[in-house]
């Protein structure tokens, strides 16, 4: 490979088509969920040790930071699932053309925002 070729890595100047945005968000939410599991499994483990620690975990989760973390985690999981389901459809040969690919990408972003708003309201 010719290493002298010009490389443009100024991501803020590159316009992302919907399908590219969906792809990078799938990665970002995947990595975020891996680290969110530290908190989720930690909270789960201590919530099951005694009634007192269950109460303190509940109290933490009802605080402002706790609620934001819960909403963020649930939102990331929702997105990652939607992106994953889209991948499964693509495995079966759908949404592989430029137009249908971008439309399905726009669809899951719209659905994700709508579901995040609904769950955000319910959790808050």
């Amino acid at each position: 490979m010719n290493k002298q070729r010009p490389v443009n890595l100024e991501l803020n100047t590159i316009s992302f088509p919907p399908s590219a945005l969906v792809s990078i968000l799938h990665r970002v939410t995947g990595v975020a969920l891996f680290f969110a599991l530290l908190l989720v499994i930690g909270a789960w483990a201590s919530s099951l040790t005694s009634a007192e620690s269950f109460a303190s975990v509940t109290e933490l989760m009802n605080g402002v930071i706790g609620k934001l973390l819960v909403i963020g985690t649930v939102s990331a999981l929702t997105y990652h699932i939607l992106g994953g389901v889209r991948h499964m459809f693509m495995d079966m040969g759908h949404f592989e053309e430029l137009e249908s690919g971008n439309n399905s990408a726009k669809f899951i972003i719209g659905l994700w925002i709508a579901l995040t708003v609904v769950m955000g309201v319910v959790i808050w």
């Binding site: 995947g30 483990a45 099951l48 269950f54 699932i81 994953g84 495995d91």
Partner: protein
């Protein structure tokens, strides 16, 4: 091919299938937890520990955690090979992340054991 299937060495087809089968288990578990929270008016400690003392729920939870370990082993490797080019740095990061993923399973096993 035969040696590949019999050893821990991975190939693309294995990764493809493992990523999707583990995703289905995690999806099923997510729907199960959503159903639990929606259908339970108030989650008290009694209800919560009762849920995880059920043998089927223990098995399902452990299956979900093992699925997460396999899923992130492939997914984080895919991300790291794209963004972390020096082999030694990537090897160390992957080692640590896979260790954390194993810890998730181990914590899950011991917690479920005690409920």
């Amino acid at each position: 091919m035969v040696t590949n299937q019999a050893s821990i060495k991975r190939d693309g087809v294995q990764d493809f299938v493992s990523l999707r089968t583990t995703a289905i288990v995690i999806l099923a578990y997510s729907i199960f937890m959503l159903w639990f929270f929606v259908s339970t008016p108030t989650v008290t400690y009694e209800v919560w520990s009762g849920l995880f003392s059920n043998l089927a729920v223990k098995v399902f939870t452990l299956a979900a955690l093992v699925s997460v370990m396999i899923h992130v082993r492939i997914g984080l490797w895919q991300v790291l090979t794209d963004y972390v080019k020096p082999h030694n740095v990537r090897a160390v990061i992957q080692f640590l992340l896979n260790l954390i993923a194993f810890a998730y399973v181990a914590v899950g096993l011991f917690v479920l054991w005690g409920v």
